[in-house]
Amino acid sequence: MSPRELLTQARESFDAGHIDESSHVVEYLLGSFPDYYEARLLRGLSFERSANAAEAADEAAFVLDVDPANATALLLSARLARNRGDDEHSRLLWLRVAEIDPAHPDLRSATDGFDHSATITAATLGYSYMRHGWPELAERQFGAAVESNSGRIDLRLGLAEAVWSAGHFEESRHHCRTVLDHHPNCLKALLIMAHVLTEVGRTNHGAELLEKAAQLDPDYWLARQMYGRLEFDRVRVPGPPVVAPPPVEPAPEAAADQVEEPPASAPEKSIPASEIETADEPDVSSAAEVLYPSESEDTAIGLDQVAPDSETAPSSPDVPEPVILDVEPDADAADRAGADDPKAEAGPASEVERATAHARAGDWVRAIKLITMYSRGGEIEAWEAALTEICDMDSAPREAWEALGDLYMRMSRPQNASEAYGRAIEARSGGGGDQGR
């Protein structure tokens, strides 16, 4: 599983009200990726549910440092401010969310009838234009918004992204530097800088920034989203790491039985996650077992890059070190998983993984067969990540772009869909053995 898939699992548990189950997965994930900001956000929401306001505020602050326009983290901060009686600060945060994402499902209930639609500002228009793929218009609005409120770093970041999307890389670099001066962990600014530096030939510096981004977003999910929209780019984004599923949380009676047992020691070698004994603290389980695609050995995320930082490390000192296994999801592995036989669904890899592996190996005929057969089914998020990666490849064929467009239509993201279909029109078919454009 990728970290993002694990996170989705945790989020689903959280949404279903299974907070302990969600926290179990989140802590497992943070054991290996302590700065994974989306996992930290989910941990913050769990803290809020358990009335641990101080910890929740810390997590929200961390997330807003990484993603200053994160509506969920802003809403969390707003609720916490209201609870401690700071209504004015809370209102300012709500207004900011109304500008960033006026359709956020939690906004209306959180603001308790407050009519945020009446306050359309330059920032509102800037964010709206960016959502709909009009960076030139967004640039004008964000420029005006920054002039009237230079202290809002999310507006400066919005301006940087708009300028970058419009192809004015040098100007965007200037704005990103300003953002990173105040928020050195700002993920979007790091990714824009990584791209711009790579484009001007400073590839090593670009790769360093990309590695830093991987600590915050180990799947490179945002990188794929952002770079996938570019006409072309030279940034080599590594594949997502593969994480073993978390060990099963012991039942309460089983945990009670283990109280007198000596604590389990960390595994020295690769051991399936299901065989790793949980220690006597069921909520803080072992760290995720991480497998990195060896095809990108030179660019893969090293564990030293995701090692816990003393300030941000999770609260469990007993978390065993993750184990890296030399396993490569190559095309041969995909064959062994039965890619030739679309009905062989019981193989060890999912259709998403097999399609991605074939595409990485340049075998478009088999990749397209899997994409066209399965990408209209479930696993929308997994397919989105896979197709974004596949379409980012230089030789991505028409069928991949079409499938990405179809997926965006199903996700009610027509602007992204029209971009993907536009690329499909330009690309050549890869289904008949045509290897590239």
Binding site: P102, A103, S117, I120, S128, R131, H132, G133, R376, R398, E402, G405, D406, Y408, M409, R410, M411, S412, P414, Q415, A417, S418, Y421, G422, A424, I425
Partner: protein, 130 residues
């Protein structure tokens, strides 16, 4: 089973719209669904129908985000074709026709076809349920 029925329904409606005189193409989709297109002659790209649907969706979302409400009808004309778009509940329809065609007449016939299909679809669904 349900998904197959929906797909057939979109294809049937697109084919019915294509039966209107001087209509060159029709695109039908549901919110959150993949568009289905039907053309009388070969267009430059097989993606054209889906691209038009996505562009319409982008405009629709933009208009909604600006607080101007939901687009229920749309019309545009180029050098070669005119296009009329409808939203009926969760269904969306785009019809491309020759520029010579009278827009009011085209709109009426498209609306009748959609309404007829809508009634048929509801009747057959009811029969299946019975």
């Amino acid at each position: 089973m349900e998904a197959a029925a929906i797909k057939d329904g979109e294809e049937a409606l697109a084919a019915a719209l294509l039966g209107i005189d001087d209509v060159k193409g029709a695109v039908v989709w549901r919110l959150g669904g993949v568009p289905v297109a039907s053309w009388k002659r070969e267009y430059a790209s097989p993606v054209a129908g889906r691209m038009l649907a996505a562009l319409f969706g982008g405009l629709e979302k933009g208009v909604e985000d600006m607080g101007f409400g939901h687009i229920s009808q749309l019309w545009w004309q180029s050098d070669d074709v005119q296009c009329i778009g409808f939203r009926v509940g969760e269904w969306q329809v785009l019809v491309l026709a020759d520029t010579r065609l009278d827009i009011a007449g085209l709109r009426t016939r498209v609306a009748e076809t959609v309404a007829g299909y809508w009634d048929e679809s509801k009747t057959s669904n009811q029969e299946e349920a019975d």
